[in-house]
Amino acid sequence: MTRDTDAATTASPSTTAPAQTMSHSSASATPGAPAPQPSLLRPPQISWRWWPVFRRNLLVWRKLAVPSLVGNIAEPLITLVAFGYGIGALIGQVQLNGSAVPYILFLASGSICMSAMNAASFEALYSAFSRMNVQRTWDGIMNAPVRLDDVVFAEMLWAAYKSLFTSAVILGVMLALGISHSPMLLLALPLLGLVGIVFASIALIFNALAKGYDFFTYYFSLFLTPTMFLSGVFFPRDQLPGVMRVISDWLPLTAAVELIRPLFLDQWPAHGLRHLAVLAAYGVAAFWVALALTRRRFRN
């Protein structure tokens, strides 16, 4: 072997130091009996090692960005144009909180939330499952000093990032189409990022439970599709029958639409804090559950 062993050995103690200092405090644990199995529901142990995992996905994506971007934004834009201008011509205007809003504006402000949801879900289901189960990428990563918690956290943020990127491009197209020029749309971006985080976390729960790709079809058809129709993306929620309306009130996509739609109209959202709290609660709870289930999957 021709490696410069001197250079390598001097480099290694300093470069591997962060991992050592992180856990060395527990080095004096009792020999003989290993610690009992830690609880699956223990709090997430996140370190900065999530960043190289996120960066890995970024590097793959940069190679495939153009085709994947076309796929990600073409469908939502086609839906917007077809429904917005097609059905919009029939409907004209929608009554929203007592004022009349053009249907294309109503639809655009809802469908961008739906796109954020779909992009995050797709990445955290199909793509994360490929990396976890098919390519064994996660196994390889965990041969290095990286915790499963960091891997799951990185996957969640990655799916949210990809979702935000997709939303931003769609928002750009909407601006170019002149659907809205509200300066408050700047606030929509961080909110769409939050929507990505929420739906990435929920999707990772199903990723942790999946035996194969087929399982995700249930998630899309039994959860995401009803969510889409119950959250006021395509039509106002006032039209929903009683029970549906109650369910709708507490759906994460409803909260997202209620927060982002007013921004398109250059208005502040009503009950903004409540909707933010709903999204935050979904995000935290879903990530925690996803992590616990993923830990269970990897325990043996």
């Binding site: 390598a8 962060p18 080095a27 199995q37 890995r56 000093p145």
Partner: protein, 316 residues
């Protein structure tokens, strides 16, 4: 005795009512190559997974002693210090987990980042690692363009990116052709010469004999025996083996010839005579020209089959 680099004491792992690893103890000295051999399902991979903290043992201790006793540092223990231990390990698992979307060089770069290494440090190491893996000409090749042997060597190079003291190799040459296997052996021998320690599991007895200073035979999760390859053969087996096969060979088992060997075994249509002195036996066999005979020294495979039996492990 030298302070070991890595030590496993009384390791036990059960899945349900099934004990997969039972009271297993072993240690690896700095610069030593320890081979773990055993049939499928013997507990080799489970042991490695416990050594990595990926599976937690039901009882027992796994300790790593950085830089030996010289520094006087306390040991690092699994699973509490998993990250600190893994920072010093290089791992080649049974199945490749290389990134199919990356070139060889990118695979090394991305993996080095998981150790918290700076890009500049990794990029300085990449050409040397590729040269070590005989993949310099494939630096920018995608994974799909590599042969099985190249992928295994890239996995080995990737395991070296953090300049580990100890390598854990789970069946590193399974599925390779003889040329690729010999190249892998030559690289592993170089690593041992450089002072790296290796824990190796394998199904190939010639590989175990060639590479390992010491062997541990594992079956049903228990240690059957442990020692240098030569010593194990000398302790457990007669030095000479005469294999006899052909029409009527099986009848020899109950013939007077049996007395000329210390031990006989039958496998399929072949009779194995184990003996300290084959002269008389060979002379007697010369009177059976219809039989084919093979006279050879006892080897590790004989030892392995003696200790673990000849029957196929269906459960594996």
């Amino acid at each position: 005795m030298i302070q070991p680099l890595f030590e496993v004491v009384d390791l036990t792992k059960r899945y349900g009512g099934n004990t997969v690893v039972s009271q297993l103890s072993f240690s690896i000295a700095p610069g030593e190559c320890l081979g773990v051999i055993g049939p499928n399902g013997a507990g080799k991979t489970t042991t490695i997974r416990m050594c990595l903290g990926l599976t937690s043992p039901d009882s027992g201790r796994i300790s790593y002693f950085p830089n030996g006793a010289a520094t006087g540092r306390a040991s690092l223990n699994m699973p509490q210090d998993a990250l600190a231990i893994k920072a010093q390990l290089g791992i080649v698992s049974q199945f490749d987990s290389l990134d199919p979307d990356f070139s060889c060089a990118e695979n090394l770069l991305v993996f080095g980042r998981y150790f918290g290494l700076k890009d500049a440090v990794i990029k300085e190491r990449i050409p040397k690692l590729l040269e070590f893996a005989a993949l310099t000409h494939k630096a920018d090749a995608k994974l799909g363009e590599l042969s099985g042997g190249m992928k295994r060597r890239l996995s080995l190079a990737r395991a070296l990116v953090n300049d580990p003291q100890l390598l854990l190799l789970d069946e590193p040459t399974t599925g390779l052709d003889p040329q690729a296997r010999h190249l892998m052996w030559e690289r592993l021998q170089r690593l041992v010469q450089q002072g790296k320690s290796i824990l190796l599991t394998t199904h190939f007895m010639d590989e175990a004999e060639r590479l390992c200073n010491r062997l541990l035979v594992l079956d049903h999760g228990k240690k059957m025996t442990e020692g240098t390859p030569r010593a194990l053969i000398a302790q457990n087996l007669e030095p000479d083996v005469v294999e006899v096969y052909g029409a009527g060979a099986l009848a020899l088992v109950d013939s007077p010839l049996k007395a000329l060997a210390a031990r006989t075994e039958v496998s399929g249509e072949t009779v194995f005579f184990y003996t300290a002195d084959a002269k008389a036996l060979l002379a007697a066999l010369a009177e059976h020209p219809e039989l084919r005979t093979l006279h050879r020294p006892a080897n590790l495979e004989d030892l392995f089959l003696k200790l673990t039996g000849r029957q196929i492990r269906e459960a594996a």
